[in-house]
């Protein structure tokens, strides 16, 4: 049996491919094989949420998926949020509301928040807090992040 398998997938709208061992985690494949280092590796067991990406439109931990499982999938990473040099409304809101300090959790926060707002376009503050409890932040105390997601909700709810 060959040691590596081919992986073909779409990342942020672009077809990408690579070869890796089946035991390689999706987050390591993104960072090491595709050079997309925006997705961060934190706890590596699904607790911290820093590695959260969208898989076929749904937020998922990329440290709990094998890269070969993403063969044929459509992924969105933090690199795919900004378009044509313009920050995504969520990113704008994070900047506006001081929703990051060290920035380590930010990619996971942004993609978790995007999934939350697509699932529940007008969340209450409590629902935002429940949703964001999927990602750990050690700097901000979460207040700025909650405020940013609340502020971005109306912008995302408009048809774009």
């Amino acid at each position: 049996m060959s040691n590596t398998l081919p992986v073909h997938l779409t990342v942020n709208g672009h077809p990408r491919e690579g070869h890796c061992e089946p035991r390689k985690l999706l987050v390591d494949f993104l960072r090491e094989d595709l050079g997309l280092t925006g997705t961060h590796v934190g706890c590596e067991h699904g607790i911290c949420g820093a590695c959260t990406v969208l898989v076929n439109g749904e937020a998922a931990r990329s440290c709990l998926m094998l890269a070969v499982q993403a063969d044929g999938a459509e992924l969105m990473t933090v690199e795919g949020l900004a378009t044509a040099g313009r920050l995504h409304p969520l990113q704008e809101a994070f900047r506006e509301h001081h929703a990051l300090q060290c920035g380590f959790c930010t990619p996971g926060m942004l993609l978790t928040a995007l999934d939350l707002l697509r699932t529940n376009p007008r969340p209450t503050e409590e629902e935002i807090r429940h949703g964001l409890s999927a990602v750990l932040c050690r700097c901000t105390g979460y207040q700025g992040i909650v405020a940013a997601v609340a502020a971005a909700a109306p912008a995302l709810d408009r048809p774009r």
């Binding site: 985690l25 067991h45 440290c63």
Partner: protein
């Protein structure tokens, strides 16, 4: 690389998956949603010779309603269960329990079959399966068999499935119209495993209790049905005093473990407190309509 080396197979069918399990003679692990197994692989606490990935196997993800039952395919994602109108209407306890499983990004991948086969006694689905009186369908080289919850869970993280058997479907009787229900749990952070959880279902009218179901999570090596506490309600009704008596009885019926998360005494006390909370919330919901879409667990 975090996980140790393994052979990787992604069979297209259940039959192929079972043949692979038989071929590896207990050295292969089934990979469903991976939300419990992959952490174990990353820490190398689990080092199987092979992974049999079910994510490409056809016909395992569905929610079908028929003749007073709901059938859910083993690879149905928790996220699909959470947002299923059939589950909200027929199995509102399962819908509520699902919102307590990890976080939404975990539920995007996690499956009902994987959670039940993993048999973590603190998890929500083993408790929900027990409370709802559900069954699982298991397939192996010798054919298919159907197990009730009590026949499936053997001990801590252990089921009665043979190494070459696979859980393929979950069958749940629809809850009676107007049944009151609640899934209460306590954890230190939202989304963590419950230190103790209680599922409650009550059927009744004007203070009378036709039937009650009370099942624990995290209070023993497998979900514990609190039959003697249920009987208090069925005998004495749904008054505050009866609820208090049932909650006290519940605490006497469990023999919870002591670990770094909580002591035996603390878990026993939580069993009493959460049984009371679950019953009061279930009684409040009695004979009201099924929860509207979008209603969240409190």
């Amino acid at each position: 690389m975090k996980p140790a080396r393994f052979d990787y197979h992604a069979p297209a069918s259940v039959d192929e998956a079972i043949a692979l399990l038989a071929r590896y003679g207990g050295e292969a692990k089934l990979l469903a949603g991976g939300q419990s197994l992959v952490p174990l692989l990353n820490f190398r606490l689990s080092r199987p010779a092979a992974l049999v990935d079910l994510n490409r196997a056809a016909g395992l993800a569905y929610i079908h309603e028929a003749a007073g039952h709901v059938r859910i395919g083993a690879m149905t994602r928790q996220r699909a269960i959470e947002f299923s109108p059939v589950v909200r209407r027929r199995l509102p306890l399962l819908a509520e329990a699902t919102t307590l499983v990890g976080h939404l990004p975990i539920r995007s991948r996690g499956t009902i079959g994987g959670s039940l086969a993993h048999a973590d006694p603190s998890a929500e689905y083993p408790t929900a399966l027990t409370a709802l009186g559900g069954q699982v369908v298991v397939r192996g080289p010798r054919g298919e068999r159907t197990l009730a919850a009590g026949e499936l869970f053997h001990g801590y993280l252990t089921t009665t499935l043979a190494a070459d058997e696979m859980l393929v479907e979950v069958r749940l009787p629809a809850m009676p119209d107007g049944a009151g229900f609640a899934f209460e749990e306590f954890s230190r952070r939202h989304g963590d495993f419950a230190i103790v959880g209680i599922a409650a279902i009550v059927v009744g009218d004007r203070g009378r209790c036709a039937s009650a179901r009370l099942v624990t999570a995290g209070a023993g090596p497998v979900p514990v049905r609190l039959r003697a506490a249920e009987e208090i309600l069925e005998r004495e009704g749904l008054s505050d005093a009866a609820v208090e008596a049932a909650a006290r009885r519940a605490a006497e019926l469990v023999d919870p473990p002591s670990d770094i998360h909580a002591s035996t005494d603390y878990r026993r006390n939580l069993t009493r407190v959460l049984t009371g909370r679950a019953l009061r919330r279930a009684i409040m919901r009695l004979n009201t309509l099924s929860p509207a879409p979008g209603e969240r667990a409190g």
